[in-house]
Symmetry: D2
Subunit: 309 residues, 4 copies
């Protein structure tokens, strides 16, 4: 299906994967949520993605997931499109989340492959087929092999992109060869949105034709990511390098404290709590940083803020 | 904590991981469930494990999981102990399942590590600590690295075995070096139950000191597994080899049709449906065998039944 | 060690990883070698890398590896710097290869981690320390986790960059988050050369500060890669996108025929043989494409040559 | 090819994978070699395997590998069959090693899959075909996925077992489900030898039909392993459990000092050096234990020797 190059995907730009502010294992930090959303939107972002990996979606009860969808959509109040993660191992629960998202006027849903069983590409295709036929909203595929144990192969993306409701891909594989293969395969589908997860590679993906980033650091410093995206879109390489260095500083100083698989997420929540935006409580099986690590985040955050406001 | 060698674990023997009979994505096959439970219990098994990997637990809605716990306990009606899988990425949901299990008079719960985030051993210990303090029933650890991306290391098992409520380990790693290391480490804890998942290695693990098996094939031919266990316990090597060959025939002929990661599970459900015990419907993201594969299962099943009644 | 930004690494640009032309398992295709070197150098490349993964180094006898070093250096005759792969599981053999390289007036050697034992980062550091102290030539680290089972972590690169003789890194991980982390870590070492292997991500790595590419496709169409590199260096994004599309076409049409782990290498050798540059013989354990696959490469090559001369 | 059950494989029993005594990176410890061989043979073993993983084969120069073959065969002097590892990424070098082995009157050669490229099963079959047609001696397949990145699948073993010269399999996967599948598949080939690597599972594999073990601990305490094998063969379960406990004590106390991927090998060489049998020098990229770890091995060894002479 060859399309004109003037066509652009509906969804592009910086769509931060919001962390979920919690007071305890099963209670939202509503005040924190309001503050966080206002903080992120003030940075000029192009959308908001809730209930992703950064949102600890899989660690949350269903009660709280449904509640978060409703509350977020109400607070955002159509200022930007809201994307809702419905990733789950049980398709029936994914569909229920999508219904709540549709009722709350979210713009799209996002689903990574089911992450318990070891699936093949054919099973993956059937899975997304099953979902796509039953969804009340457009769907983004979410490639996250480190957590789901499966790549959505470029050929699979191509096949799925022909299905009803499937409008884009968020790739968090960190594998830019993969992303370039998908970009090339989808070159005649300018309406299909291709976003990357890791902020360290957002700039280069946009320079080569990608449509934006779902970058965790935009919880903290949303305008840095918006500036980086805009400079990449406009081809201003000097600005790109300047903002990219800021992103790399954030990544280096905040996401590798301790040596946890989830240091990124722990660092992000610690920094938001230090900035007094919201609580750093994390749902089991993760836990927020203890004092030594938190102090290190605090020191590093201070250094970062010398260069970034 | 050195204990007398006369002490035995409370839970041992053959505890089949029951498949979940389904009519469709969100409806139990109640008739099939009754038939299946009676079929399994008629084989003389020592317990029944529901909502494990074989039970497609992670593909089921919560509604259906809670319902299955209640229905199964009611049907079993104390004939054997019931073990309930509460494995989940959200600890709060695991605890709710455990409460339902306790109310329904199940005997124990079983939890694999949370399977979305990539955890370290220290985080795993905290996770089980969190669970164990809040559980109304004894807990089995469930080592399942191919699905959860993490081994419960032998040292971790030892540490966890000292916690409240933790009474055993079900190891489905297929790594017998691992199992022997755990057995040796726990040699002074004869009350701690060590079971293996894969039926192909149940006999040898029991010969070397293991306490039993959580073997999928016992859904089909429960007495074969009971006979194998009993001959291993009594040290009758000739009988062991005889029943072990039957198990290997079942494994070879039924679990490798097609080349799916889940051929085992698909073969099992197909065979139960061919035997007219229950429906072979599988919840998304898996699907039951199509006709070609089903016919192959049918032929293979016929051959198996020449040797095994 | 803070250095001026005017400093540039000695080695940068396009340094093709040459395939090894073979007549049979233990005989070089000397005529093919001459033709191939002249073909590659005519494209304006900045160096030539022999005995890498693309050169099937690990499949070759030592006799032939030493011979290839001597012959290549003689044919190149100082037109461009020659880089010699000395990757091996036995450090003593690596050192012998390095001696031959030094005698033949090669410019540098390249070593991936030993790939049999599962090493940790500390052992890796000691390994490179051992090598670096004994080498007669500058050394490039070679990150190739898919083949060696270990990442050279960014912190390890930083530590190793302080050692005698270690002058750069070739990263073939395809993980651009990794590459950006290394780039940022090494930002005050402008003399340290950072190259990427996969051609699909060469452009974007150079746009963000990388120094060049070790790209297999430059065996076939060297000037495409030189043009892509030059347009990235000069910040001409329109040209970058044009040549990047050509690279993606080469990658898509030639490297994924069949579904081998080594389809890239098989496609490359088949295309070179079809272009009558050299033999497509491959050393065991790989084998060259059979007729069906070769015909597909032939058709695809014809299409590519409509756009690329 | 159905065969009588009276047929036995030519090679069975305890065939220790000998460590390689070294004085430095490229010099054999000849005195140590003599002492070690005599020590091992005094334990009543059924063969001797050199140049395996335990023999650090891949870290050794070719000069030293050929020398070791000659010296070992001369010292053993036909007292037991000698098995020679020819595992290599370059088939031509494997064949040269096999020729030296044949000249020195070794009994068989052993080859794991080439371990650099990522092969598929079809390529693996071609590889072994290539080897088997050119070998002057019988060949054992060697399954070692943790180091070679590939399983020799049960179906592949079956196909390969029909080839000229291929007489057995050494499985070091630690995956007993795999081993039982191979055992079952090969049940009508009683002449095909099926050995396991990890000593922790040797007993159980022999109880279920395996033919013996290639167990590293037999470098230290050969008679323990011979006793364990003999008790398993004769079906004396009480003795099996007794000697198995000894093996587990050796494994627990000597192979997990430090937390290296190669703790097993480092512990083994340290213990042999403490027992004054041979040098503990290890070829790069491994290194022998430093003093803290060595002292721990020494203490643990003393404890072990209270129970085992």
């Amino acid at each position: 299906m060859k399309k004109s190059n003037h066509i652009q995907p509906t969804f592009k730009g910086i769509i931060p994967p919001m962390i979920t502010p919690l007071l305890d294992a099963d209670t939202l930090d509503i005040k924190g949520l309001e503050k966080l959303i206002d903080h992120i939107l003030a940075g000029g972002v192009h959308g908001l993605f809730i209930l992703g990996t950064t949102g600890e979606s899989t660690s949350l009860s269903y009660k709280i997931r449904h509640e978060l969808i409703e509350k977020t959509c109400a607070i955002v109040n159509n200022r930007v499109p809201v994307f809702v993660g419905i990733t789950d191992t049980a398709a029936v629960e994914s569909l229920k989340l999508a219904e709540t998202a549709a009722k709350a006027k979210a713009s799209a849903v996002v689903a990574a492959p089911p992450y318990y069983f070891n699936l093949g590409q054919a099973e993956l295709i059937e899975y997304y087929q099953y979902l796509s036929e039953r969804l009340p909203l457009p769907l983004f595929l979410y490639n996250m092999p480190s957590h789901t144990k499966i790549m959505i192969e470029p050929d699979t993306v191509e096949i799925l992109s022909e299905l009803k409701n499937i409008v884009g891909l968020k790739d968090s594989s960190a594998n830019s060869v993969y992303f370039n293969k998908v970009l090339y395969k989808m070159k005649d589908r300018p309406d299909f949105s291709l976003l990357v997860g890791p902020e360290e590679i957002m700039a280069e993906s946009v320079l080569l034709g990608g449509h934006g980033g779902v970058n965790g650091g935009a919880n903290l410093f949303p305008s840095v990511y918006v500036n980086l995206y805009n400079s990449a879109i406009s081809g201003n390489l000097e600005e790109v390098r300047k903002y990219h260095r800021q992103v790399m500083e954030i990544s280096t100083k905040l996401y590798s404290v301790g040596s946890f698989g989830s240091s990124y997420l722990k660092g992000l929540k610690a920094a938001l709590s230090i900035m007094e935006i919201c609580s750093d409580y994390m749902a089991s099986p993760l836990h927020s940083f203890r004092s030594t690590e938190r102090e290190l985040v605090e020191r590093n955050l201070m250094e970062i803020r010398k260069n970034i406001k």
